[in-house]
Symmetry: C2
Subunit: 475 residues, 2 copies
């Protein structure tokens, strides 16, 4: 790979993946470190990915009848304590406002770590009758969880997310919603992020504080570790009872509602980077890439080249392709490297000879293959290529993930497998002690309960397995 | 006006405008009060207006080359104190985080009341050379200002807004940007909110804490009071010096940049309500109305009516009209009232006789006029009507505002004019004492300096007028 004036170096992805990650997120200007420890600044190139994620996710929410709303940032401390498990889980992580407007507050306020409590308090006010149900709302917001160890996108004290909150008249309907949204997330990950995931129920230990059941989607990163990329929670009547969310049912009886919540966050950007990235830097999925195609003029000073590039850019934009023309003073080689590092799915090279032949060159970021295409109709060629890149990225990541899910029947096997960067399918008796033992022995956690129960004995104690679990080291 | 089963009553707009406002925002479900004093919950119907505002404003920002980004919520207290006027202005209003993660913080953190300081600290890191300039960024975010007296949308402790922050190599360019964005806001208000505004420079007393000059747009509300609907600030080198934003210029000299900032907030929703609302409730401008057309079936049980309504709704949606079909059990009269209160610009009535005649009835919210239109091509009729409503709402509001700007040459005249709900054009000598005197005597403040200096003597002291000011009572 030519290093022709190449601006930035990134660490070797195979030798030092954590450093590669840090280099890539900072040098491609996705993100920077904020002045307060554990905070991040999402720069325009990173924020544009988030906006694309929002747009695509919002379409799916609308189709599911979910409406956006906005609830307050600050939650009275007393709200947190109304649901016992919830406060236990979140109290250690909250940031607390004690003073405001020059005075000490009568009651401390916490910055939302999640909004079940404050939304529950409003739902209690809005819901009277079965006619008001279901309530299906979502908010796009910032939340704060004070973390000791932080990394941009993956774990930061403040992050951006969406949190859906619904209320239903029955257990069945609420559980159905919980699983439906898990399906929406899985389809979104596949279609928009080209990211295969494993979905399933979480163990008691790993569930959301206050939930009856949590379901998660887990994605395999380049180093074989797992990243929890989204969760949906069936909350039963826990929050309905804590916040008095009641409705008069058709039978004239006053009943508690059943609630759910679900969320994905800016963590998805970290997931994209670590699923698809390679030695040269980012490889962005076309659906959410801020720039889908970059046009690099070759011998830009030759007559007609820049004009042709500009005309092509306009045509691409009109066809709905997010295209950029790099008409800077840098050499083509420098531009190739820079836009590769930035993960742009398609590079279009156009020079005087191409122009003469009525052609241009398309270089795809995922496989580095180059193909010629006719200038007339290039929009359609680029669109088809973007779609093909999306499918290929998904297929490649899926094949890799499937290859790297192995079965273990002892702790030693499990340890050896996760050491090699695998996910491990293993039996589990269902007791917390054995789950803890796996963590202690192999630094691996139960990611999800496998959909099919295929294993017979517990990987830790050897007793009868109640379920089959996917264990992995995780971010 | 038929009260046929009418669900909610709202106060008389002429007799008790404040109560009318409260009734309307709560009963149309735009907003509700949050559990913490001074906070609001933006409900789906209100949030959809905000999303439409965001979408339209984002288009204009993109056209101006401004990119979206996201900066941290929490700002170290020490940052606030780096710009002397800034801290004086904002310190009394901030909410302060003193504890996080179960520990007392070494340095208290404030929840951003605005982000010049934290963004300045990042710009200082990112900008090295004139080649890096201009920097044009915007963020959509929540901010917090602890206010004693609050009202939904108009003044709440937390609100949503956009804040643009730019850096330029020269004073001229920064000032040009400041005025350009003021123009963008004015055009946006006219086009998207059907709201005429007065724009101009603010007095020293009314300017942003830390700015060299603030420009504002002021809109006249139904009661003749003024609402500051957006501001742009030329910050000179104040923040550049406080945060060390320097660049190596073409001449090889290290120089401080010149910065600007500009913002509009969820306050705009309050401005819409109080500019256009009438005795029956909201009157929403078509461009940002969550629902642009509601279809009310007449004799819905008659054969073919509901099917025709559904088909029409689909055609409207396909034509880009945000349309809703009200197929609830309520009577048409009840629906008319409810959707009028909710301010939907166009109501479409469709019954068996209309169907037979191949027609439908269009009722416009702004003038209450009804017109027939052919069912075939109804999409185009509705779109044309929406456009006409937009223009008419703007023209009506503009005529009212112009009618109610009067000239005064004494404090008594000024008081009498604002008592009648007018804006007052008056001369001002330029001294703070006279500005304070007007406030004391007439509870009116200097909204903007008038573009043309037409008055000769100061309304307060009678000395030579240095400028002509628009005075008004304000929200």
């Amino acid at each position: 790979m030519a290093k022709d004036n190449f601006v930035e170096q990134i660490a070797d992805i195979e030798k030092d993946f954590p450093q590669w990650y840090t280099d890539v997120v900072v040098k491609t200007k996705l993100v920077d470190y904020g002045p307060v420890k554990g905070t991040m600044v999402i720069r325009p190139y990173g924020y544009a990915i988030w906006e694309n994620i929002q747009r695509e996710m919002d379409k799916r929410f609308r189709a599911a009848g979910i409406e956006n709303a906005y609830f307050p940032l600050l939650i009275p401390m007393s709200f947190m304590t109304k649901e016992a498990e919830h406060v236990e889980g979140f109290a250690p992580e909250v940031a607390v406002v004690t003073h405001a407007g020059g005075e000490k507050l009568a009651e401390p306020l916490v910055i939302r770590p999640t909004s079940e409590t404050i939304i529950g308090s409003m739902y209690s006010k809005w819901i009277q009758s079965y006619r008001d149900l279901p309530v299906l709302m979502n908010q796009w917001a910032n939340v704060m969880r004070w973390e000791k160890t932080t990394r941009p996108f993956l774990r930061t004290s403040e992050f951006l997310w969406q949190e859906g909150h619904t209320v239903h008249a029955s257990e069945e309907e609420a559980m159905e919603m919980t699983l439906k949204m898990l399906g929406v997330y899985e389809e979104f990950a596949a279609t928009c992020l080209a990211m295969p995931v494993l979905t399933g129920r979480k163990t008691e230990k790993e569930k959301f504080a206050g939930a009856v059941a949590t379901f998660g989607m887990e994605a395999m990163m380049h180093d074989g570790k797992s990243l929890q990329a989204g969760t949906t929670h069936y909350l039963g009547q826990n929050f309905a009872k804590a916040f008095d969310i009641k409705f008069l049912d058709k039978d004239g009886v006053l009943k508690y509602g059943y609630t759910t919540s679900f969320g994905v966050s800016t963590r998805l950007i970290g997931a994209i980077i670590m699923t698809h990235g390679d030695a040269r830097g980012l490889v962005l999925p076309p659906v959410v890439a801020p720039v889908q195609a970059v046009i690099v003029p070759i011998a830009a000073k030759k007559e007609g080249v820049l004009e042709a590039c500009r005309a092509l850019k306009e045509r691409l934009a009109a066809a709905g392709v997010r295209a950029v023309l790099d008409d800077s003073e840098n050499s083509p080689g420098w531009k190739f490297n820079e836009w590769e590092m930035k993960g742009v799915p398609v590079r279009i090279e156009l020079g005087p000879r191409d122009l003469e032949a009525g052609k241009c060159l398309l270089a795809r970021r995922d496989t580095h293959e180059k193909t010629e295409c006719a200038l007339a109709g290039a929009e359609e060629s680029v669109k088809a290529l973007l779609s093909d890149i999306s499918h290929n990225m998904y297929a490649r990541a899926k094949a890799r993930m499937e290859e790297r899910i192995v079965t273990a029947s002892s702790l030693e096997e499990l340890l050896s497998a996760v050491d090699k960067g695998n996910f491990v399918r293993a039996g589990w008796c269902g007791c917390r002690a054995c789950e803890d033992r796996v963590k202690e022995f192999a630094q691996a956690t139960a990611r999800v309960l496998d959909k099919e129960h295929t294993q017979t004995t517990c990987v830790a104690c050897g007793k009868k397995a109640e379920s089959t679990v996917i264990f992995a080291r995780a971010y």
